[in-house]
């Protein structure tokens, strides 16, 4: 619980430090990009700090490259 609070506080702090400058200059795209990175980042960091498991993103790599590996190991025995 403490970890979650710390991560949320950290991301709120980071946003509070950097977002006002972006809003002041009205950089819409940059603000959007900032949230696209920060929100998943905060979520992932919360999972990381609580040491709770989520499916690894490498599962996609496994699904895509399984046939390639099977072909390769069939080729080279």
């Amino acid at each position: 619980m403490l970890g979650t609070i710390v991560v949320l506080a950290a991301s709120a702090l980071v946003a509070a430090l950097e977002l006002p400058a972006l809003f002041r200059r009205k950089w819409r795209k940059e603000i959007f990009l900032y949230f696209v990175l920060l929100i998943p980042g905060t979520l992932l960091s919360i999972f990381a700090i609580r040491v709770s498991r989520i499916p690894s993103p490498l599962n996609i790599v496994i699904v895509v490259y399984k046939p390639v590996y099977e072909w390769f190991s069939y080729l080279l025995g």
Partner: protein, 362 residues
């Protein structure tokens, strides 16, 4: 971070460090698993093919010498297809940064500091990473150049101190099972050191061109490869192929073996120093490529503001990327080399073909 210039010597140092990178610690085991005592032949063959890939990457960077990967994707493949390819590259850079941070922390938590929680190491790493990326490529290159003599000295010492323990019969018989296991093993020397050089497409445009740039780049890639082959050979000669294949960190086990006259012992910390230095430079290059690529792909007016949110993502992904070491090792052995090769072989070839077709039919 714009308009930064690095010298040819600095790019040489970066290439050597990136080639040695994480391979020095893990690749002897991966290769020895299939090639057994012929791992060094496998390594040599891998260096040969890897040099071709390094050359291919260099050739692509010369098509538009002043543009980075994201810019020439847009130029060659058009706005939409180029954007999709660039996004794929960004994912790849991000995953590589996270995976290499995870490799460092896996190593530290299993071998050196077993009671430290993994996120503590990730936190320190990510903070350092952000600090390095904030400094820009010039700073990264300069610090790599500064650390390099130290790196090479330790590496040479490591290899020299092991010579008393070499047992030459460990590499015989040569080629007992033919060439197939060697080819299978060599994919790790092709993919991990050389295919990862694709990240230099983001760095090469900021190199000041001199006469010997091509030669020095090739030489650096070659030196890195030869160092790897030397490490693999020493591993096989000292530990034997069986122990090499069944260790997760054979080079670390190797360094523990150093013992000269009951006087020079427990020098594995030197190896840790070497390894963390080279892998950290590689991680930083990938992180830099991610942040810079992101800012170039979306054409943002500034790139510093992307740093801290990327830090959160890297910190989270470094944990999420592998539930345990067995899963990660499995991916590293079976699938990651092909993922690497897709980016380092398929995309450059695609770029070159489209480029030449466009020139011909303009």
């Amino acid at each position: 971070m714009d308009n930064e210039k690095i010298s040819v010597r600095q790019i040489g140092v970066l290439v050597i460090l990136a080639v040695i990178g994480d391979s020095i610690l893990v690749s002897p085991a991966l290769i020895a698993q299939s090639a057994k005592q012929d791992a060094w032949i496998s390594g040599l063959f891998g260096v040969f093919v890897g040099m071709l890939i390094a050359g291919l990457i260099y050739y692509v960077s010369r098509l538009f010498p002043n543009f980075t990967l994201m810019e020439f994707n847009r130029k060659i493949l058009g706005k939409w297809a180029g954007g999709v390819v660039s996004l794929l590259f960004l994912c790849y850079f991000l995953m590589n940064t996270a995976a290499m941070s995870r490799e460092i922390s896996d190593f530290i938590t299993t071998q050196m500091m077993p009671e430290t929680p993994i996120w503590a190491i990730h936190l320190i790493l990510v903070l350092l990473l952000l600090w390095g990326i904030r400094g820009g490529i010039e700073t990264i290159a300069r610090s790599a150049e500064m650390l390099f003599p130290c790196f090479f000295l330790f590496l040479i010492c490591l290899l020299l101190f092991l010579t008393p323990q070499i047992k030459l019969e460990q590499i015989f018989p040569i080629l007992p099972h033919g060439f197939k296991p060697i080819l299978k093993g060599s994919i790790y020397t092709i993919a991990y050191p050389y295919a990862d050089l694709i990240v230099f497409l983001m760095v090469l445009p900021s190199v000041i061109r001199k006469k010997h740039a091509n030669r020095d780049y090739a030489l650096a890639a070659f030196i890195g490869g030869i160092v790897l082959v030397a490490v693999i050979l020493i591993c096989t000669l000292v530990l034997g192929s069986y122990i090499t294949a069944h260790q997760r960190y054979p080079t670390y086990a190797l360094a523990k073996k150093i013992s000269i006259g009951n006087f020079l012992e427990r020098v594995e910390a030197f190896l840790t120093f070497i390894w963390i230095m080279s892998i950290f430079i590689k991680t930083i290059l990938y992180g830099f490529a991610f942040v810079k690529g992101m800012s170039q792909l979306f054409n943002t007016k500034d790139e510093k503001f992307l740093l801290l949110p990327s830090g959160f993502i890297i910190f989270g992904l470094a944990y999420a990327i592998s539930p345990d070491i067995v899963y990660y090792q499995n991916v590293l052995i079976k699938y990651w080399p092909f993922w690497d090769l897709t980016y380092a072989l398929l995309f450059p070839l695609l770029c070159i073909i489209v480029y030449h077709v466009r020139i011909r039919f303009r």
